[in-house]
């Protein structure tokens, strides 16, 4: 008897190849329509349900959605017994990853639309009701509409769906290359000024630990930039690169004394193990959080 997994793999995720093109379109349209009706039908059902019932539905859907990805990743079903020429690392759930991926992309796109709707609604209300600083909302709305218009127009022109005119090209370039990109870069570069001011005011040698930290930071700051190499190898004349195998102790010390070598040693020998320990802790924390979310144990999920 054919195992259930094989039946699922062969019949659910793919429409039979024997169907004509029109029939395939019809089936696909029916599936999409059915899913749409199901989702739309779920909303009033969820609203009529008491909170406990609603929670049960959400918990079940969350669990099944998580289970799908976990099962697809971990299941070691031998796919070759069904499709001998196919990739042996796949299992019977693997073909469903693609539709799931499409669903997630659509949800992501919906979230973008929802965010845009919320932003425009909030600022339109500010302008209509003339709330405090409503002028900024006008600027935001005008900028939003202008940028969106030129961006969509330019994208359509790139796809050759509309004609690419010099007006669109120039307009998009002024808004994107010469305004958005420059403003974004300028905003981020302000951090350097705050860091400089903060380092001057706060980086104080008040303990042994602080002294070690400051000394190490200084060595790395100079060691990783070209100035470190210039000081070590050009000004001080230290030998560059690893010492020869038969070199004496003094030669080995000289080869290791360059600021870039010390900085690299700090990064690979001191920094890497500490980072690994932190990442390990974060990873375990993330796993625990993922399990809590999957099992709807986290407060505020439902």
């Amino acid at each position: 008897m054919t195992p259930l997994t094989h039946l699922i793999a062969q019949s659910i995720w793919r429409l039979p190849e024997t169907l004509s093109k029109d029939q395939r379109y019809l089936y696909a349209s029916l599936i999409v329509l059915g899913a749409f009706v199901l989702v739309l039908g779920l909303i009033p059902v969820l609203q009529t349900l008491p909170p406990r019932g609603r929670r049960a539905v959400i918990v079940t859907v969350t669990f099944l959605a998580g289970l799908f990805f976990a099962a697809e990743f971990f299941l070691p079903v031998d796919w070759r017994s069904i499709f001998p020429k196919d990739d042996p690392t796949r299992n019977f759930l693997t073909p469903a990853i693609q539709p799931a991926q499409n669903v997630l992309q659509i949800i992501g796109a919906l979230a973008l639309g929802l965010g845009t709707y919320g932003l425009v609604r909030l600022h339109l209300r500010n302008v209509v009701q003339k709330r405090t600083q409503w002028g900024y909302s006008v600027v935001l709305l005008v900028a939003f509409v202008t940028m969106a218009t030129f961006s969509i127009w330019n994208t359509l022109a790139e796809k050759e769906l509309v004609k690419k005119t010099p007006f669109v090209e120039r307009g998009f370039s002024i808004l994107f290359d010469f305004t958005l990109v420059q403003l974004d870069a300028a905003m981020f570069s302000l951090i350097a000024f705050y860091i400089f001011s903060a380092a001057y005011r706060a980086f104080r040698i008040r303990s042994v630990e602080a002294s070690i930290l400051m000394f190490t930071a200084m060595v790395v700051m100079i060691g990783v930039v070209p100035l470190g190499a210039y000081i070590s190898y050009t000004l001080l004349g230290l030998p560059q690169g690893p010492a020869p195998a038969d070199a004496d102790l003094w030669t080995r010390i000289l080869h290791s004394a360059g600021l870039p070598t010390i900085a690299n040693w700090v990064l690979t020998t001191l920094n890497a193990p500490v980072q690994r320990a932190i990442e390990f802790g974060v990873g375990i924390g993330g796993l625990a959080m993922a399990i809590r979310l999957w099992l709807s144990l986290e407060r505020g999920v439902t």
């Binding site: 799931a100 991926q101 992309q105 974004d184 070209p226 980072q275």
Partner: protein, 277 residues
């Protein structure tokens, strides 16, 4: 009221003066014709060696996820890497999970490739923006054309000569992640194990990546603008990395000088207060 000592005045220096000093320092060393030779760090050398191993016609995925905010670090990296890939005759495709990067990387690649005579669609392509990297990688591992569907120009993936015969991410030889975000663990976790991963982070993200470099999960790394300068040096080209690294070098010096000055003023003020008591 007692007049302030010189040390107190130093400790309460107007922050606008500090901002001005840093600004002048950056601009001066950005335009100054000083060019210092960088010492090639081992991660950059490994990065270079990995690309040198590629053969003409090999396929590389460039995950470009940076926006204008980190342009100063990621742009010189990407330009240097593209130059190397084109020199090797390698085919490459772009993907972005950062909406702004879709346009930035596409426009940058168009400029760099057209200067080198690389043809869009035949030798390189851009897949555009995808909202979720994990899902996109999992999809591309199984079926790349169905996941991506069409490129930024609206051409179906199957019709792009650069992707002739490509069914999944397994047909690629390498992934290069140019990013200020923590996307490299996603590539390590979900991409095929035989795919070599190279990483171009901003300087602030590099410290975290040394663990992956140590374990061999990342084969090489270009760290920020100074990594780009080292790479340009290896390639023998003049790009944006050198002047940017120059400005960073002397900004570091300025910061160190002022940290030392701040500490000196603090110690002198303490000494003065003890003497007064």
């Amino acid at each position: 009221m007692q007049p302030q000592t010189i040390w107190q005045r130093m400790l309460s220096i107007d922050r606008r003066l500090l901002y001005l000093l840093l600004f002048v320092n950056i601009v001066a060393f950005l335009v100054a014709p000083i060019r210092m030779t960088a010492s090639i760090s081992p991660p950059v050398q490994k990065f270079y060696d990995e690309i040198e191993k590629l053969k003409p016609g090999d396929l590389v995925m460039i995950s470009s996820n940076w926006s204008a905010s980190t342009l100063a670090e990621n742009q010189p990296q990407l330009e240097a890497v593209l130059n190397h890939l084109m020199r090797k005759g390698v085919r490459f495709t772009f993907i972005s999970i950062e909406a702004q990067s879709r346009d930035i990387s596409y426009r940058l690649a168009e400029r760099v490739t057209s200067a080198a005579g690389y043809k869009y669609g035949e030798q390189w392509a851009h897949f555009g923006f995808v909202p979720n990297l994990t899902v996109a990688i999992k999809g591309m591992v199984n079926d790349l054309p169905s996941t991506i569907k069409q490129d930024v120009r609206g051409t179906p993936i199957e019709k792009l000569p650069v992707l002739h015969g490509v069914k999944s991410l397994r047909d690629y030889q390498m992934v290069i992640d140019v990013t200020p975000s923590n996307t490299v663990p996603v590539w390590i976790s979900y991409s095929p194990k035989e795919l070599r991963i190279l990483y171009c982070p901003t300087s602030v993200m590099a410290a975290e990546a040394y663990t992956y470099l140590d374990s061999g999960q990342i084969k090489g790394m270009i760290t920020g603008a100074k990594g780009a300068q080292e790479y340009e040096q290896l390639l023998g080209i003049r790009g944006l990395g050198a002047p940017f690294a120059n400005a960073i070098s002397f900004s570091h010096v300025l910061i160190i000088i002022f940290i030392l000055l701040g500490n000196f003023a603090m110690l002198m003020q303490r000494r003065y207060e003890r003497r007064e008591v």
